[in-house]
Amino acid sequence: MRAYRRIRIFISWFLSAYFAMGLLMLLRPDMEIFPVFSWFLFARVPQSGAQFGLLLHQVNSRKIEPPRLYQEAGDLVPTAHSVTVYKLAQELGAAIEKNSPETTRCRDLLEKDWLPPQSSYELVKLNSDPVTRWKTGKYEIIQRLGTFTNADKPSGKNE
């Protein structure tokens, strides 16, 4: 009986702790410490506003004219539809704006794992309303944060 009660207490504690810690994760920029997560998925309804994008200028030493957004370059990069690249671009943009040391980590991940060798890309800030952009394809570049290259870095396979 005592063991049974202990299990009951443990379960209550486990579930309560997961709930409380999950909510505390909201205070972190990445919102989780694996496997504790807030589970706030698709909670925010997107508004018109700024987000970051990767504008490809060169892939495999081949110049892209005019430059294209990463996710629109399905014929040039194998992972154009990857949501990871989108998230990394947002993290990199935020890190550059804050002049944070995270910039190096984000660049390393992007350039080693997600970009073909001898690539050059520009990080830009876009402004658009999601539904309008979906219907018209139009977006506005409001800021250019820098052009980078992964010429010296080996690339690996992902997804």
Binding site: A3, I7, F14, F40, A43, H81, V83, T84, Y86, R105
Partner: protein, 337 residues
């Protein structure tokens, strides 16, 4: 003996039942307690089903590990990740050796637990394998969440009591087993409720800021458009719904209802199957609209709720409707059986 798990409420007299149903919170959330069949007979039956489901869980775990073998060559050649804390040790060993160790641990742990699910040591190794693999796979810039619940359930199943071969488990052992099984169910639904809570809290926040929020009629169209633009992908029904945004309104409200009250349904066995169907349909909808798939979660819902060992065979749809959170008051129970 007060060892009957929550899914099958112990017998109580009708006066007490009426008294409890008059509680303000119960009144708000709907549903009424009802008299149960003889508890020990139910316990034996539930235990038989639960042990079979745990075996099925570890069989599915083995399938995942085996399916991954086709990718082993590519995985062993991956670059050094930005490791999450459970695989931080990878930076101190040769990378290929470290990745190989994780893959073998995952495979052998899954195999051992599928053969001897009644042994705790196999369940510990199986958990370690899943935990390390999922942490490694999410160490490349973004954490995906499709295997989180699988990992957490695997952790909870470690605490199942060891059952000896050929011996009939005691009543207390059976009860402990069912309690841990119920904890797995609670963990699954807790995650959904946290997700629903997030949508409601953020909606209130965005509403206060005067922004479009989750209860707005065009909200789902905005969410779909942004998601499809993020990856420049096409979903089967997403573009249509962006053009007919008002259709998305009841769908999003329904999804929030299902998610928000998911945890409550763990305490109402009559809702287990109904809620699992709803959440699986929600995942199908998410894929058709957003290209977001959670097949592992659907499998968990099917194992732990569609086949719930606490669901009573004499349950009927009237009971189910009467137990619905908030809406249950609209469907009064015909009779307490």
């Amino acid at each position: 003996m007060s060892t009957i798990v929550n899914p099958s409420p112990p017998q109580q007299n009708p006066k007490e039942a009426v008294g409890r149903s008059a509680h303000p919170l119960r009144h708000l959330l709907g549903g009424k307690p009802k008299l149960s069949a003889p508890a020990f007979r139910l316990q034996t039956k539930s235990f038989g089903r639960a042990t079979l489901l745990v075996r099925c869980y570890y069989a599915c775990n083995l399938y995942f590990a085996l399916a991954l073998m086709a990718d082993w060559t590519g995985l062993l050649n991956r670059n050094m990740p930005a490791p999450l804390w459970p695989v931080a040790w990878l930076t101190h060993v040769p990378l290929r050796t470290g990745i190989g160790a994780i893959l073998w641990l995952y495979l052998l742990g899954a195999l051992a637990a599928a053969i001897f699910p009644q042994k705790r040591w196999t369940r510990i190794i199986a958990f370690a394998g899943v935990f390390e693999w999922v942490a490694f796979n999410n160490s490349y810039g973004k954490i995906g969440h499709s295997m989180h619940l699988w990992t957490l359930v695997s952790a909870l199943l470690i605490f199942l009591p060891d059952l000896k071969r050929g011996e009939s488990p005691s009543r207390t052992q059976r009860q402990k087993f069912l309690l841990i099984f119920w904890a797995c169910q609670a963990m699954i639904m807790l995650a959904y409720s946290m997700s629903g809570l997030g949508k409601v809290v953020v909606a209130i926040y965005q509403g206060c800021l005067g922004q479009m929020h989750a209860f707005s009629s065009n909200a789902l169209a905005e969410v779909i458009a942004e998601r499809l633009l993020e990856t420049n992908s096409r979903s089967l029904l997403g573009p249509w719904l962006i053009d007919h945004s008002s259709v998305g309104w009841p769908l999003l409200l329904g999804a929030i209802y299902l998610e928000l009250f998911a945890f409550l349904t763990v305490f109402r066995p009559s809702l287990h199957r109904f809620w699992a169907c709803g959440l699986i349909l929600f995942h199908i909808g998410s894929f058709l609209l957003l290209t977001v798939s959670f097949p592992q979660n659907c499998l968990l819902l099917a194992l732990f709720f569609l086949s719930s060992p606490f669901h009573r065979d004499d349950e009927n749809w009237r009971h189910t409707l009467a137990d619905l959170p908030l809406l249950g008051r609209l469907f009064p129970r015909q009779c307490a059986s």
